[in-house]
């Protein structure tokens, strides 16, 4: 069974098509990144998961439950942290979490609530009114609210937008722990290094269409070639290596590297000319470069 399954899912708002026909699935245990520029349809897709938006076409399933025909089971299986900072100003942090548990049919959820509060650094704020919290603290409560029912699938829509470094670290530590315990995590973010560090699979959306879906390593190996930077003594490059040269700064040469096998050819050519390597660094294109390339393709 897949954690999430989108099957030809589309959504129109009047004449505007927010999602064309998106099909993909998220496996159980994945740490999955959903990337794309603003307006690509990420939040629409997440809203369809949570039943906040109804798809114009296609089927969506969470842990095998259809979000429309079997909505109660589907909603029990997923915890969503919305992108907008929203809270109920009438209640304290603990009350908000107790109510949220009740909505999911859970009474006496105090032990788990205490554990979430502790893990998100909220224990001291448990009895503070939501209005009195800073933006970052409110964001933590939103994460807590999505976790009260221990959902097998956790969806975070830009959870770290406008959040300080400390919360990001606490949050990701906790989420990674939940992931190792078997929870499936879906994440949207504009901080691509977060996706690169945390996720094992990456999907990219552009103008309502899925343009890529791959394992992180495959995606990182894609498109832009690797480069190797060499510090050479003497500072000359053999004739046969000249076509590979991208940049030279004094004795530092940056060469194109199609794949790792190409390195052996470079090294033997240098040996043949008695050129010594003083320093060597191989750089991989990062997710950000690939993202920009794909979005402009």
């Amino acid at each position: 069974m897949k954690a999430i399954e989108f099957n030809h899912v589309g959504k129109d708002f009047g004449a505007f098509t927010a999602l064309k026909e998106v099909s993909f699935s998220v496996e159980q245990g994945d740490f999955f990144a959903l990337l794309g520029p603003n307006g690509a349809g990420k939040t629409t897709l997440i809203s369809i998961l949570g039943g906040l938006t109804r798809a114009s076409r296609g089927q969506t399933r969470i842990m095998g439950h259809d979000v429309a025909s079997d909505y109660r089971a589907a909603r029990r299986a997923v915890g969503i942290v919305p992108q907008e900072l929203v809270f109920d100003p009438f209640f304290t942090v603990r009350e908000s979490l107790v109510f949220q548990s009740g909505y999911f049919g859970l009474r006496n959820n105090d032990n788990w609530i205490d554990e979430i509060l502790h893990n998100l650094g909220l224990s001291e704020k448990a009895n503070t009114n939501m209005r009195a919290l800073s933006g970052g603290m409110k964001r933590r409560v939103m994460v807590a609210q999505a976790l009260v029912h221990k959902p097998p699938v956790i969806v975070l829509d830009e959870p770290t937008a406008g959040v300080d470094v400390e919360l990001r670290q606490t949050l990701w530590e906790f989420i990674q722990r939940l992931n190792t315990q078997g929870h499936t995590i879906v994440l949207t973010t504009h901080y691509l290094e977060e996706a690169e560090t945390l996720c094992n699979r990456i999907a990219m959306l552009k103008r309502g269409e899925l343009i890529a879906l791959e394992d992180k390593s495959t995606m990182l190996g894609r498109g832009a070639a690797r480069t190797v930077e060499l510090k050479l003594k003497p500072a000359t490059l053999p004739e046969r290596l000249q076509p590979l040269l991208l940049k030279q700064q004094e004795s530092r040469f940056t060469l194109k590297l199609a794949d790792c096998n190409g390195l052996e050819a470079i090294l033997s050519e240098l040996r043949a000319h008695d050129i010594t390597i003083k320093d060597l660094a191989i750089s991989q294109p990062d997710l950000e470069e690939i993202f920009v390339q794909m979005m402009h393709a």
Partner: protein, 251 residues
């Protein structure tokens, strides 16, 4: 059931936390109406033989306050949640359409009834209406408040801005409640306005409620019950259909 119970309890707590504004204020307003109208009209009007105007006015004011507050509770709660966005916390959980409907309706009705009791307690000092048929009092209080709470739900679902809700309140709810015989027996009206009053469901809520106190009214309590019950049934169907369809709430 836990979902329903939690949402109901939260809605009760929401108005109870600000009871000064949601309960005490309408009680004071009703008291002011009583002081002024009773002072001006007590000597001139005897709505039913042997019934003092002040006593006559009390059930009317009670019902008016109850209906307005039942409406205000569900409508303002929903529109606030919609505008601040925290309605997502009710939409994401597996709460069924019926639980959603029942929780908002009953919490609105509960606020109406609490306000009604407050008005009764505050006005007892001026006149004690006889409780001729308490069962009718209870029946019309519950049905009337539930009906208005549903209307509040519909208005809260439909309105996208506070001024749309205010328009609903000022141009529909206020005229319906004021022109329903709160301050007078409709028998004192010219025939045309009597006929118009008979088209207003709120008239039957107040008339039936008043029958419970005095044992006399403008129409039979059974006729009032039939009208109120029928209106309630229609509104139940409309409200449930709206919630189920996700109209303006799930886009």
């Amino acid at each position: 059931m836990t979902g329903f119970y939690t949402l109901f309890y939260k809605e009760i707590l929401r108005f109870w936390r600000v009871a000064f504004q949601t309960v005490a204020a309408p009680v004071l307003t009703a008291l002011l109406y009583l002081l002024i109208f009773a002072h001006v009209l007590e000597a001139h009007v005897e709505p039913y033989p042997g019934v003092r105007y002040t006593a006559f006015l009390i059930p009317g004011l009670m019902m008016m306050s109850m209906l307005q507050n039942a409406f205000a509770n569900s409508s303002s709660s929903l529109i606030q949640s919609k505008i601040t966005g925290n309605i997502v916390y009710v939409l994401l959980p597996p709460i069924s359409h019926f639980e959603f409907f029942a929780a908002y309706t009953l919490a609105g009705a509960a606020r109406g009834i609490v306000v009604g009791l407050g008005v009764l307690l505050a006005t007892l000092f001026f006149a004690v209406p006889p409780f001729a048929y308490p069962a009718w009092v209870v029946v019309f209080a519950i049905l009337g408040c539930s009906l208005m709470a549903m209307l509040g739900l519909i208005a809260g679902i439909w309105a996208e801005k506070f001024d749309q809700l205010a328009a609903f309140q000022n141009f529909l709810i206020m005229p319906l409640t004021f022109l329903s015989g709160v301050f007078y027996s409709i028998h004192s009206l010219p025939p045309f306005w009597q006929a118009v009053s008979h088209l207003n469901p709120v008239f039957y809520m107040i008339d039936g409620f008043r029958y419970g106190f005095f044992g006399v009214a403008d129409v039979s309590p059974w006729q009032s019950l039939a009208v109120v019950g029928f209106t309630l049934a229609i509104l139940t169907v409309i409200t449930l259909t709206l919630i189920k369809s996700g109209y303006k709430i799930r886009r």
